[in-house]
């Protein structure tokens, strides 16, 4: 009984290890990569949020968040490949959200600056016009 039991358990342990190793080669090879990519995507989303993508690149930021959630779901069900891909897509979406938000903010600054410059130019023009008339001493 003991011997029999022992034999079975040894075999099953060995086979189980083989199985786990075979599965692990597939799963483990990409699993740490997926974890890494998830972290990278999360960081990119945070950068986008800091760049005010929530205000200036809503669509892109939302796409990144949705894909990050999908990547997390894929990782939870141990689908490392799908998780890695989704995380990569979330990452570029977040980068696009960040760069779009930055560009839009700079462009907004340009618009404001040009309005200010127009006012300054007009002011200068008015002043030059007023200044071009010679000073008039009091008459008789």
């Amino acid at each position: 009984m003991d011997h029999f039991k022992n034999g079975i358990s040894l075999t099953s342990i060995r086979n189980g290890l083989w199985c786990a190793t075979a599965f692990g080669i597939v799963a483990c090879a990409s699993a740490p990569m997926a974890v890494e990519k998830l972290a990278v995507a999360k960081t990119s989303i945070q950068r986008a949020e800091q760049a005010q993508a929530g205000q200036f690149a809503q669509v892109e930021l939302q796409a990144a968040r949705t894909k990050l959630a999908a990547a997390q779901t894929a990782a939870d069900r141990r689908d490392a490949e799908a998780a890695a891909r989704m995380a990569d897509q979330a990452d570029v979406d977040a980068q696009l959200a960040e760069s779009t938000a930055r560009a839009k903010q700079q462009e907004q600054l340009v618009t404001e600056m040009e309005a200010g410059l127009r006012e300054l130019r007009n002011e200068a023009l008015r002043r030059d016009h007023a200044g071009s008339a010679p000073p008039q001493p009091p008459g008789r």
């Binding site: 099953s12 086979n15 189980g16 199985c19 786990a20 075979a22 599965f23 799963a27 999908a70 894929a74 069900r77 141990r78 689908d79 490392a80 490949e81 799908a82 891909r85 989704m86 990569d88 897509q89 570029v92 979406d93 980068q95 696009l96 760069s99 779009t100 930055r102 560009a103 700079q106 462009e107 600054l109 340009v110 600056m113 040009e114 200010g116 410059l117 300054l120 130019r121 002011e123 200068a124 002043r127 030059d128 200044g131 010679p134 000073p135 008039q136 001493p137 009091p138 008459g139 008789r140």
Partner: protein, 279 residues
Amino acid sequence: MNREIIVAAAAVVAVAIALLAGCETAPEGNSTLDEARAAVQAAESDASVAKHAQAEINRARSLLTNAEGAMQQRGVGDAVTAHYAYLATQMARIAEQRAHEQIAMARIKAGETERRQILSSARESEASQAQAQAESQRLAAQLADLQAAQTDRGIVLTLGDVLFDTGRSQLKPGATRALDQIAAFLNEHPERRVQIEGFTDSQGASNYNLELSQSRADAVAMAIIRRGVDAQRVRALGYGEEFPKTGNSSEGSRQMNRRVEIIVSNNDASIPGRIAGVP
């Protein structure tokens, strides 16, 4: 053995799930790839993107190469192809946004330079205006002292006939102070010219009056030249009975018409001539 079967079954299910998940996220490979090709090409052909976001363009190009490779290996409609194509498209868009940002930043920089220039020239013009105002106030004070008037022709100072004896063109000592001040003013403003115009009333022969007015004007001109003003800047004209200040009906009005006017030019402008009918 049962455990082995369970483990093997679990592995099969996992692989199936992975494949299903892969298919789930796979849009049509070809259209995504076409989109990526177009996006990367558009970004590459944009000179400003090439200038400001070369690294992003390179990444987009290499992702597109990955997508093309996956398509050749795995055929149309493959998830990996679509995945790389999507990344390439997004990277091309990122390149474009980076370029937009850089262009906007360059404009802001240029705008700030212009703003500084406008402000500094505003300060300069304010300073020069303040200087001009101070100058004009000083001038006004000098003129007020001489009881002169600013006109279109220039600054006009009128010497009354009390400074000459009747029929004579010799200046009396009472004119000295006024002449000193005019000469000082002209020496301080070397760009200005002076014109001296003599007038009489309508009593007596007009030829005589013309000559008298000329010689009185000459006398004033000489007095100014003697005080250091270059003769080139001084001109004397006799108008006789012309351009009376008022009618010649009473002694009071005739006295007003007997006069010498000293006109100092505005800046270096020449003094416009008299127009008939305008006193």
